[in-house]
């Protein structure tokens, strides 16, 4: 179905229900649908036809959400751009997607002016106040008549074209269809029925899959969305208390910033029942600290997924985060905090070796998945990850335990091969981060004439703590097989990361080359 139904059907049931809050703007379903209808009129007036591409470059807002749903209503493809991308990346994304209209936030007007000569004739419009030169979306919407006509889409039409963060190569345009979102949302949440379904605080950017699906699941199920333009810890804590937030999603670096914030201790978390995290591997030390620091009413959820699979594939639920029971149970639970949990009901997961054979519990291989919501493909390039019988290679390494819990062991591309032995960096990083003086660690392969590759670790020490390379190597001795121990340890102030907190290993490789 057309995803605009995620707001139009609940809107026909509960038009007066407050559903989107952004700063001073508080919109009911009725008001949101009216704004969407006006924007649909604006986009059609601009000459946009079904399957044309509408791009947006801005931080989160209610207008961002309304623009997505208006694009859906008009049958357009929505292109949410990463506002942290560099000029050439943005040019690449906008041009390869063949965007017809670009909505730009105030903060990005100069950037858009700068790159505009290199863009293939895209029209621009201001989402915010603008600079006087561009037409303002809000003005046009106020003048436009609501356009109630919903475009009849094909299920396989692309609703969102989302360029992945590209930690290893040029961004890839993931084509997600109306079907992909409908399958994910209707399989995983109940439709709104006018009753209270809680309050969700969204701080993940809407250009990321976790942000995009948040604006669908919550609006479909009737959970009020409190929209932050972008994450800021003091504001997050204040909003949780003031808006009585029940649900939220953060990435690991945000979790740490919250725990470290002076206002954390005085924040009232009594409304918060569900705090999900994902987007990058969570250091066990951080989640353990979070479990201790948040009150017991907070249930934690670890979510693992990919843009290509329309968000979450597996979750580790609140029960697995309650570290209690007999000493054996506690030990098992602590071990499972490293896990990404079990597959969602519409997902199958297996681990396979290089020859495609499924592996038994405890053996590390590539995680492969099957679900009805795999992307339609990559824009303009072949998808090498599609396997026979509807399976898909994730490019992630992992293993299953006896009870089917899945453990993530790093990206396949990051695998180190030392003297013929395959070594997953995550395994070594977990050991390094269990050292009391180590805050964070990242491991890469260093070219070696003798071994092919040897292991180099970049280590960030905790504030006020000291440890030498020798001491850390000794620590690894009793915990890692000899071929897995880091031969070279470099201490750095912080690890290079992308917006979601994923470590940028290519920058570590570049740093290492520069030093060599």
């Amino acid at each position: 179905m057309n995803t605009v139904n995620f707001i139009s059907i609940p809107g026909s049931i509960a038009p007066e229900q407050e559903i989107v809050v952004f700063g001073q703007n508080r919109l009911t379903y009725g008001e949101l649908n009216d704004l969407v209808a006006r924007l649909t009129g604006v986009f059609r007036q601009q000459g946009l036809k079904p399957r044309d591409v509408l791009a947006i470059l801005d931080t989160n807002s209610h207008l961002y959400i309304a623009s997505y749903y208006a694009a859906a209503k008009a049958g357009l493809t929505f292109l949410p751009l990463n506002y942290r991308a560099k000029d050439p990346e943005l040019e690449y994304m906008i041009n390869t997607a063949n965007a017809r209209l670009l909505l730009a936030g105030d903060r990005y007007l100069d950037l858009v002016k700068r790159i505009h000569p290199k863009l293939n004739g895209v029209k621009c419009m201001a989402v915010g106040e603008g600079d006087g030169a561009l037409a303002r979306l809000a003005d046009l919407a106020a003048k436009a008549d609501p356009d109630e006509t919903e475009t009849e889409i094909e299920e396989e039409d692309v609703s969102v074209l989302m360029y992945t963060s590209g930690t290893t190569s040029l961004p890839k345009g993931v084509m997600l269809s109306f079907h992909d979102f409908t399958a994910y949302v209707t399989a995983n949440v109940e439709m709104a029925d006018g009753t209270e379904r809680g309050v969700f605080l969204v701080c993940a950017p809407f250009y990321h899959i976790a942000g995009t699906t948040a604006m669908m699941t919550n609006l479909w199920t009737g959970r009020k969305m409190i929209v932050m333009p972008q994450f800021e810890p003091a504001n997050w804590l204040e909003l949780v208390q003031r808006e009585k937030v029940t649900h939220a999603f953060v990435v690991p670096t945000m979790m740490k910033q919250l725990l470290d914030h002076p206002a954390f201790a005085s924040t009232d978390f009594s409304s918060l029942t569900n705090l999900a995290y994902g987007g990058a591997p969570m250091p066990v030390a951080v989640i353990r600290r979070a479990i201790e620091a948040f009150p017991k009413n907070v249930g934690f959820v670890n979510a693992y997924g990919q843009t290509e699979t329309t968000s979450s594939l597996t979750v580790l639920g609140p029960d697995d985060h309650r570290i209690e029971g007999t000493p054996e149970q506690v030990e098992l639970k602590l071990k499972r905090l490293n896990s990404i949990g079990k597959p969602l009901p519409d997902v199958e997961v297996r681990v396979r070796d290089e020859d495609g054979q499924f592996l038994a519990a405890g053996q590390v291989g590539e995680i492969i998945i099957r679900t009805p919501r795999i992307m339609k493909g990559y824009a303009g390039r072949k998808d090498d990850a599609a396997l026979a019988d509807g399976w898909r290679a994730t490019g992630d390494l992992g293993w299953l335990d006896e009870e089917g819990y899945i453990f993530f062991a790093g990206r396949k591309d990051d695998m180190i091969i030392r003297g013929g032995e395959n070594i997953a960096p995550a395994e070594i990083e977990t050991v390094l981060m269990s050292h009391p003086a180590v805050e964070e660690a990242a491991v890469i392969g260093e070219p070696s004439v003798e071994w092919g590759q040897t292991i180099k670790a970049f280590v960030v020490l905790r504030e006020g703590r000291k440890a030498g390379a020798k001491e850390i190597q000794e620590f690894c001795k009793t915990r890692l097989a000899s071929f897995k121990r880091p031969e070279n340890i470099e201490f750095i102030a912080e690890l290079p990361k992308n917006a979601l907190g994923k470590i940028l290993r290519k920058e570590l490789h570049a740093r290492q080359k520069a030093d060599a």
């Binding site: 179905m1 059907i9 026909s12 049931i13 209707t186 399989a187 995983n188 949440v189 109940e190 439709m191 709104a192 029925d193 969700f200 976790a210 699906t213 948040a214 699941t217 919550n218 649900h247 999603f249 569900n274 999900a276 994902g278 249930g299 959820v301 979510a303 997924g305 968000s311 979450s312 979750v315 639920g317 609140p318 969602l344 009901p345």
Partner: protein
Amino acid sequence: MANVLGKRYMCEKCGTEVLCNKAGSGALECCEGEMKLKEAKPLPSSD
């Protein structure tokens, strides 16, 4: 069984799925049989 607001119904024969956006006392039929209620399995909510 009366149709329930917000629920999905599925025809086990042809696979058609429908969504009820206004409840009523009737029951949905497809391929000469009653359509079966399909329960969503709510996520431990990651988003």
